[in-house]
C-alpha cells in the first residue's frame, strides 16, 4: 500500500453531560501519496476532528490513524496544519509568525529569512511582513497562517477551511497558487471546505461526510485534468460533478430514506 494517510475504522467520542457524544462513528479513508482530497459536509459532522487526528492533536477512541503506514503518535513538522481559527501568535509580526516553525527546525537565520519571505510573498503579504496580526484583516490573517504552514515545507498539508474568510478574488488566486505548488512539489493535501465549487475545483477526490454520528457519506472522484483552469471551471463536466457533490451534501436525508 502506498497510502500516505489512512483512517481505519476511526471512532471518536466526546463526553457530554453524563452521556457520550459520537463525533466520528467508524471512518475509513485512504489518501494516496501526493493526492489532493477535499472534505465537505454539514457543520458539526466531524471534519475538524478528523483532521486534528491526522495532525496528531487528538487520538481516536478506537481504530487507527496511520501516516506512512505508522500510527500517528503526536504532531510533527512533516504535517503542516492550517487551523480554522487562524491561530496566529498575536505578539509576533507576520514574518516572525512565519519563521516560528523554521526556528524550531533550527534553520539558519539567513535561509530562514529567505524561506519566510518567499512564503509571505506567495500569499501576497510582502508589504505587511513587519505588521502585527491585529493590524491585518481576517483574510490577511488567514493568508499569514497559510504562509506559516507553507514555510516549513511539510509533505502533508492539513487545511481546515483555509480560504473561508477570503473574498472571492483572493480565494481564486490562492486556490490556483495552492494547486501550482501542489503540482510542483507534490505534497499530499487534506483540505476541508464548506464550498462545493472549491472542493471540486481542487480535488482528485471529494469526500462527503454526514452528521449524527459523523461518517463518510460518499466519495466522489473528480476526473478532471490538471492544471485546472477557468475553462475547466466552466465546463459541463465540472458542473455535473459539482451538482453530484451538491446533492450528496444538501440532500443527504432524501438519499438515505430513498435507499
Amino acid at each position: 500500500m502506498n497510502s500516505k494517510i489512512s483512517f481505519r475504522d476511526v471512532v471518536k467520542t466526546f463526553p457530554m453531560k453524563g452521556a457520550t457524544f459520537t463525533a466520528l462513528g467508524g471512518v475509513d479513508l485512504d489518501i494516496a501519496d501526493r493526492e489532493f482530497v477535499t472534505v465537505v459536509g454539514p457543520s458539526g459532522c466531524g471534519k475538524s476532528t478528523l483532521m486534528s487526528m491526522a495532525a496528531g492533536l487528538q487520538e481516536p477512541d478506537s481504530g487507527s490513524v496511520l501516516v506512512d503506514g505508522k500510527p500517528v503518535s503526536g504532531p510533527g513538522p512533516d504535517r503542516g496544519v492550517i487551523f480554522q481559527q487562524y491561530a496566529l501568535f498575536p505578539w509576533l509580526t507576520v514574518r516572525q509568525n512565519v519563521e516560528f516553525g523554521l526556528k524550531l527546525a533550527a534553520v539558519p537565520a539567513e535561509e530562514r529569512r529567505r524561506r519566510a519571505d518567499a512564503a509571505i510573498g506567495l500569499v501576497g503579504l510582502g508589504e505587511f511582513a513587519d505588521a502585527l496580526p491585529k493590524t491585518l484583516s481576517g483574510g490577511m490573517k488567514q493568508r499569514c497562517a497559510i504562509a506559516r504552514a507553507y514555510a516549513v515545507d511539510p509533505q502533508v498539508l492539513l487545511m481546515d477551511e483555509p480560504f473561508g474568510a477570503l473574498d472571492a478574488l483572493t480565494r481564486v488566486q490562492l486556490q490556483d497558487q495552492l494547486l501550482e505548488t501542489w503540482s510542483q512539489e507534490k505534497r499530499t493535501v487534506l483540505f476541508i471546505t464548506h464550498d462545493v465549487d472549491e472542493a471540486v475545483y481542487l480535488a482528485n477526490r471529494v469526500v462527503v461526510m454526514a452528521a449524527g454520528p459523523g461518517r463518510i457519506h460518499r466519495v466522489i472522484d473528480v476526473d478532471l485534468p490538471y492544471p485546472r483552469t477557468e475553462e475547466i471551471r466552466l465546463s459541463p463536466e465540472f458542473r455535473r460533478i459539482r451538482n453530484e457533490v451538491w446533492t450528496s451534501v444538501y440532500h443527504q436525508d432524501e438519499a438515505a430514506s430513498a435507499a
Partner: protein, 271 residues
Amino acid sequence: MAVITPLDKTAAPEQQRQQQTRRTVRPLVLGGLALVAGIAVWAVVAALGLVENLPTPAAVASKAGTMIADGTLASDTAASLRRVFIGYALGVVVAVPVGFLMGWYPAVRAVVEPYIQFFRTIPPLALIPLAVVLLGIGEVPKIAVIYLASFMACVVASFQGVVDVDKTLINAARVLGASDRVIFAKVVVPASTPFILVGMRIGLGASWATVVAAELIGAQEGLGYRMQKAATWFDMDAIFVSLITIGVLGLVMDRLLLLAERRLTGWQERR
C-alpha cells in the same frame, strides 16, 4: 479596524505626527485645567470657612515648603517607598512563578489553590495586628504585609493568565514542532503577560494602600507615620501634605506600570 499600510505611513508623516501630538497634548491641557479648577474650589471653600478646620492651599503649600526644607518629606517618602518596593517586588517575584506552576500543573493548582482562595478573602490590613505580634514592630512586619498584598493580587492574575491561554495557539505551536518547554516559553509566557501586568497594577495599588496603614503602627518615619503623628497634634497642614504626596506617588507609579503595559502588550487587539 483600520489597516495602516506602510504606504500611508510614508505618504502623510506630517499629518500623522500632528495627530499624535494632538492626541497626547489635549488630555494634558484638560487635566491641567481640572487641577487648577480643583485647587480654586478648595481655596474658595477654605476661605469661606465652609468646612471646619480645612486648611487653605496656601497654608498647605507653605507647610510643604518647610517639610521639604527640613528634609522630613524626603525621608518619609523614601522610607515608605523603600517598604513598598521591597514588599511589592518580593510579592511579584514569588507570585508569578507560583501562578505559572498552578496554571501549568493541575496537581500544584489542587494543592495551592484552596490556601490562596482562603487567604485572598482576608484583607491584608486585617493581618497587621497578627504581623506585629508575630514579627515585632520593626521593618519586617510591614514589609511582610505589603508582600502578602502584592502576592495575592499577582498570583491569581498570572494563574488566570496561564489557564486562559488560547488552546489553538498551543496547538499551532505543537504542530510546528514545539516541545512543552518551548510552548511554555514562547506561547504561554507572552500570552499571559497582559494578565500578569494587570495583576501587577492591582498589586501595586494594594501595596501602596497597605504601607500607609502599616506605618500607622510603630514606625519611626514614613508618610503614614507622619500623618498619624500630625493627627495627634491636630496639624491639618501636615496631614494634607502627606495625603497629597501619597496620592501623587501612587498615581505616578500606576502610570509607570501602565506605560510598561502599553509597551509590552501593544500587540493586543483592543475592543
